[in-house]
């Protein structure tokens, strides 16, 4: 008997369809929570507000994980594309810091941002590089210790060919035995799992792909005082036409 040929779909296509179906209910639940928080269905007391805000944080995390899954399926199949545009990294950092301001404050984190004046632009995908910066800074906030300090800097490297981003925290750090796993899929240290069991461990893997597709490098180092970690990435600058 002849077997009927079944059309083969790429995994990324299947993930994309499933993700679309998952995103719709997420958008609905998110909208309902926002509506309740805005008082559209009557007054909300402080403790109800707290619960609703927690629900909102978690639903946003779920949406992020779904986006990560779509990205990963495309990375694995070699079909991950960036939409390259000239980007000012300091502007992206300012935007992310403004989005995270209340969260950092609530987490008792002090954020210091140092930047050189008049930095050249880099050629990358503005949305994707924002994702990278959000991911690194949100990890620094999430895994920082109480009264933690996060130092973010962006500067032109001495070679004047690349921009260097760094984010130094004095948080839980990365155990030495895990150094090689940090940028692999689903990696989560035991301490990270204790603090935030809901994380997917996909962010840094996606970060690496984005930075490398932009012609850059991403890495981390243990801080010299033994407390916490500094994450770095560098991206080539756009050469000005003479």
């Amino acid at each position: 008997m002849k077997r009927k040929k079944v059309k083969k779909y790429k995994i990324s296509e299947a993930v994309s369809v499933i993700a679309h179906h998952l995103k719709n209910p997420i958008a609905i639940v998110k909208g309902y929570i926002e509506s309740l928080l805005a008082g559209d269905c009557g007054d909300v007391n402080m403790s109800q507000k707290e619960y609703l805000n927690d629900a909102l944080i978690n639903i946003k995390e779920m949406a992020k994980t779904i986006n990560d899954l779509i990205d990963i399926s495309r990375i694995e199949e070699g079909g991950y594309k960036l939409n390259f545009k000239p980007v000012s990294l300091e502007e992206v950092i300012f935007q992310v810091l403004s989005d995270f301001f209340h969260w950092a404050k609530a987490s008792n984190c002090k954020i210091i941002f140092k930047k050189q004046k008049k930095l050249p632009q880099v050629l990358t995908d503005p949305q994707k590089i924002k994702y990278v910066i959000e991911n690194i800074i949100s990890n620094a906030i999430k895994y920082n210790l109480d009264q933690g300090v996060i130092e973010i800097s962006v500067s032109l490297k001495q070679t004047k060919k690349e921009i260097l981003f760094s984010c130094k925290d004095n948080g839980i750090g990365v155990p030495e035995e895990d150094y090689k796993k940090v940028f692999t899929k689903f990696y989560r240290s035991e301490k990270a799992l204790e603090i935030d069991p809901s994380g997917s461990g996909l962010g840094l893997y996606v970060n690496k792909a984005i930075v490398e597709l932009s012609g850059g490098k991403i890495w981390f180092l243990k801080n010299k005082n033994g407390k916490g970690t500094t994450f770095y990435f560098s991206l080539p600058i756009i050469k000005s036409k003479k």
């Binding site: 997420i26 309902y32 805005a38 949406a63 779904i66």
Partner: protein, 131 residues
């Protein structure tokens, strides 16, 4: 913003989303109209003549891409601003709708309800300035 209550039409299959947007836009002072498919959406654009259309892309009967192309082809509707509100987040979808003439592209899971209202107001204000 147009004088009087601006009229918006949302073309969205999902009844839960239509429900929250109806509530929000009505409270924000808009006249709200809704359609659940591409075909119904096009018919309502012709019968209701909204000031702005919010359009999903994955729709029954006729996709949002087709609806947008149709609206921009017709001289009677091509000036009505269309904001895409979709969960498709790939660059090619965004580029395709922008080249078809959409004014803005919002991703459902990434914007808040008030962001959507703000963008609609901004878009209507821009349209007034362009008149």
């Amino acid at each position: 913003m147009p004088k009087g209550k601006p009229k918006i039409l949302i073309i969205e299959e999902d009844r839960f989303l239509r429900k929250i947007y109806k509530n929000k836009f009505t409270k924000a002072g808009f006249e709200f109209r809704e359609a659940i498919s591409g075909d119904e959406g096009l018919n309502k654009v012709y019968s209701e003549k909204p000031d702005l259309v919010i359009l999903d892309l994955m729709l029954p009967k006729r996709s949002g891409f087709d609806v947008l192309a149709e609206l921009k082809r017709d001289k009677n509707t091509k000036k009505i601003p269309v904001i895409i509100l979709s969960n498709l987040a790939q660059e090619e979808d965004i580029k395709r709708t922008m080249s078809l003439g959409a004014r803005d592209y919002l991703i459902k899971t990434e914007v808040s309800l008030s962001d959507v209202i703000d963008r609609v107001k901004e878009c209507l204000a821009m349209m007034e300035l362009e008149k």
